[in-house]
């Protein structure tokens, strides 16, 4: 989307004017030297690894876009199979063998749209969108600069011009990486400069709303209000490609005072022996074992104590800037969070007729008419098994 606006400001002419928006703003003609065809083959100068004299100077790659925070290209390195940002890239827009066979799925985000055909004639150059930036359109022959013409012939357009908009394949690594941020911000200020991170933080707050974690209340007197902090983590798959930006709001639990803000701390972890025992028993009884993982487990625990936290930085309610949140459920970072979660889960299981282990408090067993069901808890991971019908 950034690129679309960027290109739009530099290229598009409004009806009846002869200057681009960029010219109006900056007073000089924009440069479009760095506009390239998405998905083009490119050559990345290998300046990061040790390279011997006779080794190839560059790696082949695929041009994917621009870096959001520096003057660099975002490219997919075919040799190392990672998406990287580099300025030393030579991009070959006119290469005939487009990458679609190199990385299947690249064409997925090179989406075409039929609306291109209805662009009014006053538009000198076609309107490039994030998905369409690369599709220069030959029908608008009224006067696009020759360079553009040379670099963007119609046969270069990947996909069918008349086809409608295709949706992105959601599980595709390469196309996904266009929609995640690559860097990990250290503080809120940095994070707020990046749209993907803002989105990630919004997602976390939405989850709070969904599971009714807190209420906004006026600041109480004489009560320790705990600060909050954003922690940013990039989740990557086994190839090391960033697949998700995850923002998590932590309470600064170290400011909590024992006996005042919390009593006991405890996290439900299983002994390794009992996990192995479970495996052994599962074999003898011919169980099938399954596992599941509770999403944001600690946000599920109910709090007994009154705990107040500051409003998260960057997301302060403009009408009540001095209000604080009163927690109904636990937050990550709170001392009592693991225990609150364990209690909630224990209660739930016992209500359903499960019995808690004698020596290992994380083993739950239920028996109905001689049929057995076992669940073993390790904080937010649950292994369970039973006789299948």
């Amino acid at each position: 989307m950034n690129i679309a606006c960027h290109v739009h400001n530099r290229v598009k002419l409004r009806a009846g004017t002869t200057t681009t928006l960029y010219e109006l703003w900056k007073g000089r003609k924009p440069t479009v030297k760095y506009f390239h065809v998405f998905g083009s083959k490119c050559y990345i100068l290998e300046d990061r690894d040790y390279r011997r004299k006779m080794d190839p100077k560059s790696d082949e790659g695929i041009f994917m876009g621009y870096s959001t925070n520096s003057r660099a290209y975002r490219v997919y390195n075919s040799r190392t199979q990672v998406v990287m940002e580099s300025i030393s890239v030579v991009i070959d827009d006119v290469a005939k063998d487009q990458i679609s066979e190199v990385v299947p799925g690249v064409e997925a985000y090179v989406e075409t749209s039929a609306q291109e055909k209805v662009i009014p004639e006053t538009v000198q150059e076609p309107e490039p969108d994030i998905e369409e930036a690369e599709q220069d359109n030959v029908e608008t022959s009224k006067g696009p600069s020759t360079r553009v013409k040379k670099n963007h012939p119609q046969d270069l357009i990947i996909g069918d011009l008349d086809q409608g908009i295709r949706t992105r394949r959601s599980n595709d690594i390469v196309s996904n990486s266009c929609f995640v941020s690559k860097f990990e911000p250290k503080n809120v200020k940095e994070a707020l400069t990046d749209e993907f991170w803002i989105e990630a933080m919004q997602e976390e707050l939405n989850q709070f709303k969904r599971s009714e974690v807190w209420d906004l209340v006026p600041r109480p007197d004489d009560i320790n209000v705990i600060g909050t902090k954003w922690i940013y983590k990039n989740k990557s798959d086994k190839n090391g490609t960033v697949t998700r930006n995850k923002a998590r709001l932590f309470a600064q639990g170290y400011t909590q005072v024992e006996n005042l803000d919390f009593d006991e701390t405890f996290a439900p972890v299983a002994r390794l022996e009992s996990i192995r025992l479970l495996l052994g028993v599962a074999c003898i009884l011919k169980f099938k074992l399954f596992q599941m993982d509770v999403k944001s487990a600690f946000l599920n625990g109910y709090l007994h104590e009154e705990v107040y936290v500051e409003q998260p930085k960057g997301f302060i309610d403009p009408s009540f800037p001095d209000h604080v949140y009163k927690l109904k459920k636990a937050l990550y970072g709170l001392k009592q969070a693991p225990k609150a979660w364990y209690e909630r889960l224990t209660k739930l299981l016992i209500n359903q007729g499960y019995k808690k282990g004698g020596t290992d408090k994380t083993l739950f067993v239920k028996e109905v008419k001689g049929r057995l069901m076992i669940a073993q808890i390790y904080v937010d991971d649950i292994v369970f098994g039973g006789i299948l019908n």
Binding site: S211, I275, M373, Y378
Partner: protein
């Protein structure tokens, strides 16, 4: 019943990642017809790589037959944090590898003042791991489900303080579920005494296992 459990949990909490048990706490679990195999091969390969021994020759045993590590006053001092991190990584590996439990335990006694001779031994364990990273434990079906324990002790195995080391393992049916190797807390005056101490500590862990297994 399983389906019921899944439904219950899903209605209460937001779940992610659900399916057959394949990976839990670093243990790779493979479920087959009637058998379950657990191993930490990925982890094992990683630590060998971390120590920079992935190209070293393989050793066929983790230690020499009569391993004697003792206080090495004049030995060359090596970096303590490195030694500790190696021990730590290996200790975690013992979760699925009873074969290295004893040697790692012995090497772990010398973390306070690591010397070259101990480091050589630790490296030997890593080289052994390098060749045997696919080892793990197989659980299989059996009709008896008795808990059987085995234990033994040496006598004055530690040259420094003359304390004995006891070891033991526990089977449920034919499945190995628990094992230990521990230096005893007292100096035994006879082999018999050493064995008694071993017997006592194995009884205590056996009763623990029993308590768990008995309920199932």
């Amino acid at each position: 019943m399983v389906q019921h459990f899944v439904h219950q949990m899903q209605s209460k909490f937001e779940m992610s990642l659900m399916g057959e048990l394949t990976y839990f706490l670093g243990l790779q679990v493979k479920q087959m017809e009637d058998t379950i195999f657990i191993s930490q091969s990925k982890y094992a390969k990683n630590i060998v790589k971390k120590f920079g021994l992935d190209n070293a020759s393989h050793k066929r045993t983790p230690a020499a037959t009569h391993l004697k590590l003792s206080k090495d006053e004049n030995g060359v001092v090596v970096d303590q944090s490195m030694y500790r991190s190696m021990i730590e990584s290996l200790l975690y590996l013992t979760a699925s590898r009873p074969d290295i439990t004893f040697v790692v335990g012995v090497c772990a006694r010398y973390q306070a003042e690591p010397k070259m001779s101990y480091l050589t031994q630790v490296k030997r364990i890593s080289k052994y791991i390098n060749g045997t990273s696919d080892y793990g434990i197989m659980y299989s079906h059996s009709t008896n489900s008795k808990l059987i324990g085995y234990y033994d002790a040496d006598w004055a195995g530690s040259a420094d303080d003359r304390k004995s080391t006891s070891g033991g393992c526990f089977f449920l049916g034919n499945n190995l579920v628990s094992w230990f190797s521990k230096k005893q807390n007292y100096v035994s005056l006879s082999t018999a005494e050493a064995e008694y101490i071993a017997a006592r500590s194995s009884c205590s862990s056996a009763s623990m296992d029993e308590a768990n297994a008995g309920r199932v």
